[in-house]
């Protein structure tokens, strides 16, 4: 059984928001901890750290995942996008703007994860992916109703229960882009 002292760090180069970061990490480092503690991008939040709350959601090659449930060393060569890479205070991503417009949050802790998840979710919907509430999974382009938005966002918990306004924010962006 190796002890921690015996294990050399693992080298990995992560591409985050188009910037390259060469790191030497303990193999145990999750992508979330690499982002927050090593690259100092603290937008992605640690909620449950077990993949249940969605606060850590980031986009990997455009796909939403829980960054707390994956190892940083598994992601060299991937395009990682965090909330900091979606937009900036001067130039908000449409989803960020919509959350402001519709007041899609209260305390804001889950919001980066909600926004990253919503962006990933809309690209899934644009590809015609079905969901659990889709009546006919074989339908090539399911309609993005509020029920569909809620089901597809069920991996993001909001402790303040800002759900109605989160749905409104996402619906707004979906309507803008359709």
């Amino acid at each position: 059984m190796p002890t921690e002292a015996q294990l050399p760090p693992v080298s990995v180069t992560l591409t985050v928001n188009h910037a390259s970061h060469s790191l030497n990490l303990d193999a145990r480092t999750t992508l979330l901890d690499a982002l927050r503690e090593h690259i100092k991008l603290s937008g992605s939040k640690k909620g449950c750290d077990h993949g249940q709350c969605g606060a850590c959601t980031v986009l990997i090659n455009g796909r939403r995942i829980n960054s707390c449930l994956t190892l940083a060393v598994m992601h060299d060569g991937d395009e990682i996008t965090t909330i900091e890479g979606l937009g900036s205070p001067d130039q908000l991503h449409p989803m960020q703007a919509a959350f402001l417009k519709h007041d899609g949050f209260q305390c804001g802790y889950c919001t980066p994860g909600q926004i990253c998840s919503a962006v990933g979710m809309l690209s899934e919907a644009a590809k015609g992916w079905p969901s659990h509430v889709t009546e006919d999974v074989a339908a090539t382009q399911p309609q993005l109703t509020d029920a569909e938005i809620r089901e597809r966002m069920s991996g993001n918990i909001c402790r303040c229960a800002a759900y109605p306004n989160i749905v409104a924010s996402i619906r707004d962006v979906a309507e803008q882009s359709s």
């Binding site: 193999a27 993949g51 979710m121 889709t134």
Partner: protein
Amino acid sequence: MKAFTYERANDALQAAKAAAKPGAKFIAGGTNLLDLMKLEIEQPTHLVDVSRLPLTQIEDTSDGGLRIGSQVPNSDLAADQRVRERYPVLSQALLAGASGQLRNKASTGGNLLQRTRCYFFYDTNRACNKRTPGSGCSAMEGFNRIHAVLGASDHCIATHPSDMAVALTVLDAQIETIRSDGQARRFPLSELHRLPGDTPHIETTLEPSELITGVLLPPPPKGKQIYRKVRDRASYAFALVSVAAIVSIDGTKLQEARFAFGGVAHKPWRVTEVERTLSGKVIDDQTFIEAGELALTGAKGHGANDFKIPLAKRTLARTLADAARA
């Protein structure tokens, strides 16, 4: 989390060889393994990353079925147009499980090998024969609402949590593997998971370093396919009871009815003897109620999960009825 060394495999055989090292485990999506490693329930000393193996294709087979690479993410499998049209029960089952983020990461092979969500397996302060063989089973006398009513033992009443595996079982899927000696084999998915018996810590018939490389679906069966999941929340929760059913009819009679249960046993639960009795039966409520009674023969509750027995009977009856009358 305990320390471990990490390597990434370039091909399936190399991965199987690397995993033959004592204490080694494969990691694919990692959504279940890393969760368990953080809790130190899983303590691998070496991780073999199989997530980038070229096993991410869904291919048509010459007999009209599909071969699903073991590294196909759950979301891609659920969204594949061929699966949605020919094997809708599989899409429905996948979409009934986990969340969008988890399905994007979780692999087909990993989904099959995920561990139980028994609370006592997760709580390292409690006895669990699966986590620590010989320590006892806290679920037996404890709060066992989510636990098994079929195929359990005095040593373990845990359930297998996968929805996907239930659909694959009713579809007669086979799995393909490779061992560290280079030998490949193929066998029915129904032979992958073991019942707990007195060795609940041994969950599958795989050798420790045997890698699942793919899942093979036979040509789509005739009839209507339905996956129905009953759970405590409308979304993002494990099944209390689920049923995957495929029903074909001939006029007012059943031609063939197949079904498998999730959430009730240590593996997807199929009762082919009961399926056979349904062929030729008249399509009416009595037929489906009887099927539920027969399918749950020998079921045993442990207190808090007693409700699963009538729930499973009714869920089966309703699902078969919906499929027959679709």
